[in-house]
């Protein structure tokens, strides 16, 4: 096994992996789409939405927030090429996945629960977006690809390109994407404030020092402009990210020794904007900044049956979010910091030990210890919070610990099972500790942080059974998590809201516990070489100790695809079914969401001439033009109606 990319599994069959990995199709691949990548111009979040255990919280057509099961932003670790990046927006408009395009990526991996803790403490797991590294080959080779697409519904134009030069001593890769879309339409109406525009450029240069050592420089820049968020009272005026990293790789196959060291810096500027909106009571500016510096070193070595992997990492993050309001009657402008200038410093060490007991049986232990210090800078931001009775200029220190134990056994008939027991902790986020009147449009409350929050703890058990046997492959992955000191909201009685029209103020507290359980299932069947079927199923059940369903829990979902290859053309018929969600959290402003059944059709063909390839793909999404929204769509804004798409790809060698 078993990368879960089953239909197109790479030759990655070394040892059973628990990670879900999606490999982004490279230019050379003739196929225009696969189960995860609906087209070569599918966005990062579209790919994520099809991954096992991943659900997306949607605030606008772009910038959806990936969640692992029902664990969202603060509970999971969303990293880019192993780097810690914190979105700048206090309203979670910029989960860091928004700053990366699939053309920059080698693949996306998701590790659920405590297993994901090797790279950073979290209770929900880890999603890593791995950069595509330039290749080095024994002879020089050039590759240029250009992909263009057009979507009829929102007149979306996307263009991406990649240029690669691979040589014996170095490799260079420049890639980028430009996307521009107008407002989209649901079957009933045009959704206002849903247009967006963004440009992404990435440069990677790899240099071979000697047969064991390589060094790689990466730069990624992403510039978003006028990105609409119909579910929120404001849009994004600008969202700019710069990500720099320098990576050193050492590999000595003879000694079974490997090391990867990275230093990185990233900064994000994000500004919300209401100038496009109508009937706003008062104009306001809400800029925010996030800046992170960090490093990590991963070391792997193997002595006979004993596999060791260690990771030492550290980072420092600075966050700030401001709000300036301009009363229309000429009163003095108003200013506050919705997130006081605050710092997180972290140093962590993780160790993993795998004991290969037999060829088909191993055990793995994973431990991580983190030190965090969090504080706010003295000034207006901390003065504001002092009015709430907290001194946040004092340093808050936390140690988070996590442990997991995996027991993995491969039977005959390609059957494999794993048992995972885990314990994990996570730090309360800056929003949860220091946020100051952050408006949540779902429940209509302003949220004020609670600096005294304790860490959230999670006891976890997961069982994974998989089979890859002849034409059949399937997996079943049930889990149960008992989360202690769960961070949950409560109403601050007698507190005024700040936002005009808000219903009141809320804060966070640790409640006794909340439980999350569910399962992910995949099923694949190869009827013949030209007819294949692939599906995944997700189900979640989560509630507090009082039996209140947790908010933002996706209902049962089925995503299936039937692939037929005839006449050198691939056809794919997709069905996305989502059951109704009736277990809702009304405190959070949730409403019941009905079920829906979505059908998409795709077709693609490639033509090759003189080593150059031309690809054409056509698609119809939401074929029956149904009106629907997903349960995790903030504001329950209807999704896109029927949408025709065309994608053209040129690959020049």
């Amino acid at each position: 096994m078993l990368s879960i990319n089953l239909l197109y599994a790479q030759s990655d069959t070394l040892s059973p992996k628990l990670l879900n990995e999606v490999t982004i199709q490279s230019a050379q691949n003739d196929r225009q789409f696969n189960f995860y990548q609906s087209s070569k111009l599918a966005s990062t979040e579209e790919i994520l939405s099809r991954m096992e255990g991943v659900n997306l919280i949607r605030r606008g057509p772009f910038g959806m927030e990936p969640t692992l099961r029902n664990y969202s932003a603060n509970q999971i670790n969303l990293s880019i090429d192993g780097m810690r990046i914190y979105g700048a927006c206090t309203d979670k408009m910029d989960p860091v996945s928004v700053y990366v395009e699939p053309i920059n990526l080698q693949g996306i991996s998701a590790a659920q629960g405590a297993q994901g803790n090797f790279v950073g403490s979290s209770i929900g797991g880890n999603i890593n977006l791995k950069f595509k590294a330039p290749q080095t080959l024994c002879h020089t080779q050039y590759l240029t690809q250009v992909i263009q697409s057009y979507q009829s519904n929102n007149q979306a134009v996307s263009t991406s390109f990649a240029f690669e030069k691979a040589g014996p001593n170095n490799g260079l890769r420049i890639s980028g994407t430009y996307r521009k879309a107008n407002n989209y339409s649901s079957p009933d109406s045009i959704i206002k404030y849903s247009a967006y525009e963004k440009l992404n450029v990435s440069v990677a240069y790899q240099h071979v020092l000697d047969s064991n050592n390589q060094i790689r420089f990466n730069y990624l820049g992403d510039w978003g402009k006028n990105m609409g968020y119909p579910a929120l009272p404001m849009d994004v005026g600008k969202a700019n990210a710069s990500i720099f990293s320098l990576t050193h790789n050492y590999k000595n196959a003879k000694k079974n020794l490997g090391s990867e060291t990275k230093v990185y810096y990233n900064s994000i500027y994000h500004s919300m904007d209401d100038t496009q909106r109508e009937n706003i009571p008062m104009h306001m500016d809400m800029p925010s900044w996030s800046e992170t510096k960090g490093f990590y070193n991963e070391l792997s070595f193997k002595i006979k049956k004993h596999n060791f992997l260690t990771r030492l990492d550290g980072h420092e993050n600075r966050l700030q979010a401001d709000m300036t309001m301009y009363p229309s009657n000429g009163d003095p402008k108003m200013y506050m910091q919705t997130l006081p200038i605050s710092y997180i410093k972290n140093l962590g060490f993780a160790a993993q030990y795998q004991l290969d007991i037999r060829a088909n049986y191993y055990m793995k232990w994973n431990a991580r210890l983190d030190y965090f210090s969090q504080k706010a800078r003295e000034g207006i931001g901390s003065d504001q919070v002092s009015g709430m009775g907290y001194d946040i200029s004092e340093v808050k220190q936390n140690y988070t610990k996590s442990l997991s134990w995996v027991h993995c056994y491969s039977h005959s008939f390609g059957l494999n099972q794993s048992l995972v027991l885990g314990y994990a902790e996570r730090l309360p986020s800056s929003n949860e500790r220091y946020g100051f009147y952050l408006f949540n449009p779902m429940d209509g409350y302003d949220y004020i942080g609670n600096p005294d929050l304790k860490t959230e703890k999670s006891w976890q058990v997961e069982w994974i059974v998989k089979q890859d046997y002849k034409k059949l492959n399937w997996s079943f992955h049930p889990f149960f998590h008992h989360n202690k000191d769960y961070i949950y909201t409560y109403v601050l009685a007698d507190y005024y809201p700040m936002t005009i029209g808000a219903r009141g103020a809320k804060s966070y507290q640790n409640i006794s516990y909340a439980n999350t359980m569910g399962a992910e299932t995949t099923l694949g069947y190869r009827f013949t070489n030209w007819i294949q079927y692939r599906a995944n199923f997700k189900y979640l059940y989560a509630q507090t100790n009082a039996g209140t369903p947790l908010p933002l829990v996706a209902p049962f979902k089925y995503q299936g695809a039937l692939r037929i290859s005839v006449w050198q053309t691939q056809f794919q018929l997709e069905q996305n079914y989502s059951a109704a969600q009736n277990r809702i959290n009304t405190d959070f402003g949730e409403r019941k969401t009905g079920s829906f059944n979505l059908v998409n059709i795709r077709a693609s063909k490639s033509f090759t001439k003189n080593k150059n390839t031309f690809q054409l793909a056509l698609s119809v999404e939401n074929l029956f033009n149904i009106n629907y929204h997903e349960h995790l769509d903030i504001g329950y804004i209807p999704r896109m109606g029927r949408n025709f798409g065309i994608t053209l790809g040129y690959i020049l060698r």
């Binding site: 008062m282 709000m323 309001m325 009363p327 009657n329 009163d331 003095p332 402008k333 108003m334 200013y335 506050m336 207006i380 901390s382 003065d383 504001q384 919070v385 002092s386 009015g387 709430m388 009775g389 100051f436 009147y437 601050l492 007698d494 507190y495 005024y496 809201p497 700040m498 936002t499 005009i500 103020a505």
Partner: protein
């Protein structure tokens, strides 16, 4: 002429008595021991100066800002009018009178005869209840009992008093309290910051044109709001009476901008007045 005489006299005294240097360092320059106008203390403005005839003293009057309608504290540095030395032993009494031609009246005054040992300044707080004008001027009278020579005297000085923007004083006739004319002044914060601020108000009433006693038995309900947004703030503490008509509480401002502070006054559970408003901009 008087001033010149004073300077010459002081110079002679100082030159012939170098041992006085210590006491007079604030009034002399290091080079020639000539008494000059004292340096205005940091963070204050000079309001005026006057001789206290009879006490052989001269008063230099300061305040933290130009005098305004509302609660002011007036500071005085007393000097020996003959040798220019600082006077620190004596009783100081400050009075205020508004002369409108047809009538005269005083204002609420918090008598304080004693000196602050560290700053060597006398101080008295008072509530100017109306602004001065060309026709009607505020006059401060300063009486001083100079213990050094055991002599008393009085001086007078006209001072400008302007209306404060935003206003720091609300006057109101309270029908339910024997139709008393009541003055509510907004003392603190003078400069507000985001977060918790000390809030202080004084309440006095006019018993006669010369008698303005403190009201000590009101209860205050205080509500800060941002009028542009219509929201308030949590964790405010209603001011309660501390002493001499001073009511102290806490004001929490959650952001910069214009805040409105509404006060409701009650006495023995009876609401007297519910439309007292102050504004402050952060």
């Amino acid at each position: 002429m008087k001033k010149l005489y004073f300077i010459i006299a002081a110079a002679i005294v100082l030159l012939s008595a170098p041992s006085c240097k210590k006491d007079t360092d604030e009034t002399t320059t290091p080079n020639n021991n000539t008494p000059t106008t004292p340096v205005t203390p940091d963070g204050m403005v000079k309001i005026g100066e006057t001789y206290i005839i009879g006490a052989k003293a001269k008063a230099y009057i300061y305040a933290k800002q130009n005098l305004f309608v509302g609660y002011n504290t007036i500071y005085a540095a007393m000097y020996d009018s003959a040798d220019g030395s600082r006077l620190v032993d004596g009783h100081f009494t400050l009075g205020a009178e508004m002369d409108m031609g047809m009538m005269k009246h005083s204002c609420p005054i918090e008598v304080n005869e004693d000196i602050d040992a560290t700053t060597k300044l006398y101080s008295t707080s008072l509530v100017f209840i109306m602004p001065g004008s060309d026709m009607a001027k505020w006059k401060l009278s300063i009486a001083y009992h100079n213990h050094k020579i055991d002599m008393e005297g009085e001086g007078e000085i006209e001072v400008p008093v302007v209306a404060a923007t935003p206003k720091r004083l609300v006057s109101s006739v309270i029908a339910l309290d024997d139709s008393a004319k009541v003055f509510v002044s907004f003392v603190l914060p003078t400069v507000a910051k985001v977060g918790l601020n000390d809030a202080e108000f004084t309440i006095h009433k006019m018993a006669s044109t010369t008698d303005f006693p403190a009201i000590t038995d009101y209860t205050i309900e205080m509500t800060p709001t941002m009028p542009s947004m219509g929201h308030g703030s949590p964790n405010n503490v209603n001011p309660t009476h501390v002493a001499n008509g001073h009511y102290v509480g806490k004001l929490n401002f959650t952001m910069d901008g214009l805040w409105q502070i509404d006060l409701k006054l009650s006495k023995n559970g009876v609401l007297l007045k519910d439309d007292i408003k102050f504004e402050i901009t952060l």
